[in-house]
Amino acid sequence: SLNGTEEKKFKRFEAYKRDNQFPNKVKDLEIVVDKKNLTVVLPIMGRPVPFHIHTIKNASHTPEGDFTSLRINFLSPGQGVGRKDDQPFEDPTAHFIRSLTFRSHDIDRIDDITRDITELKKEVVRREQEKKQMED
């Protein structure tokens, strides 16, 4: 412990073990929220790229006319809201993806995706807090 406060530890996680675990829908080159595996799969230059919900900070979208822009913010160093950045990182000297913005004409689907990501994040945080309380 440091200065009497307990140091948060980084816990490892993994989205997939094999590439046959991707949801089928990734072939449509669209964003897929894989709730079962706590992962959001994003299309980047034709590749399905998984991001575990633990890396995501929040998601929001802004409709503008006939399309909408979805911004996904990720956890990265130097963005702590408090005085101290207490978010633990496995390697703070690494490069981090801080945000990704996608544009889509499927406003309703993006609205669902935004809600799914937000709820999945809430659910994971809630479960972690429960676990912590049980450990105390």
């Binding site: 080159l29 990720f74 490069h95």
Partner: protein, 200 residues
């Protein structure tokens, strides 16, 4: 001649037929339209990996940047690697991507593209031709922009090539189009003021 059906060229919306011959290969859109051809002398490097649409054959070319052919079946690898070896004298490298789902790693700058490496495996690649702008968005923050034209003709090929994409237009080939990516790059300059001596 070796032919493969339902193949997508540079993230085209429609598929086509890819035909390989000793002199090079061509891609003809199934719905009709001009055929894209590439001379074998253009091909410098080739990689095989899992893509969103099946498996992908990615070629680094001398003058056309990175060319992607998506939609192959896993079992096509044998035919592909054989014909590349015999006809083009090129080893098709099997590239496995990271599936960890982490947002941290190392951005590596290669000949034609940026690879974001997670635990020593690429998570994704960005061909330089697809980047429309970059800027320093804040302290330790770099923003990379991708152009996605707002109008219907967003392929840059004027409806030719069956919806195949010209360079710089790949991002709009997806239903959800990536328009911006921001990186956090840790600063090291200010912390390395004190020089450590005696180490080699």
């Amino acid at each position: 001649m070796e032919a493969f059906q339902e193949i997508y060229l540079n993230l085209s919306k429609k598929h086509g037929v890819a035909r390989f011959a000793e002199s090079g290969w061509g891609w003809k859109p199934s719905g009709g339209g001009d055929t894209f051809t590439l001379d074998q002398a253009q091909i410098m490097q080739t990689q095989w990996s899992r893509a969103a649409r099946g498996y992908e054959l990615k070629m680094l070319t001398r003058t056309d940047g990175v060319i992607q052919l998506d939609g192959f079946q896993q079992e096509d690898f044998e035919r592909i690697s054989k014909l590349f070896k015999i006809w083009y004298g090129i080893n098709v490298e099997h590239r496995e991507h990271s599936l960890r789902g982490w947002n941290w790693g190392k951005a590596e700058f290669g000949k034609a593209e940026l690879s974001f490496m997670v635990a020593n495996r690429p998570a994704f690649e960005i061909p330089y031709t697809e980047v429309s702008n970059t800027n320093l968005a804040g302290k330790n923050e770099v923003a990379v922009d991708f152009s996605v034209p707002a109008d219907g003709d967003d392929t840059g090929t004027n409806g030719h090539l069956g919806g195949a994409r010209a360079r710089g237009k790949k991002s709009s080939g997806a239903r959800d189009q990536l328009v911006e990516m921001r990186f956090y790059v840790p600063g090291t300059a200010s912390r390395k003021e004190k020089k450590e001596d005696g180490e080699d």
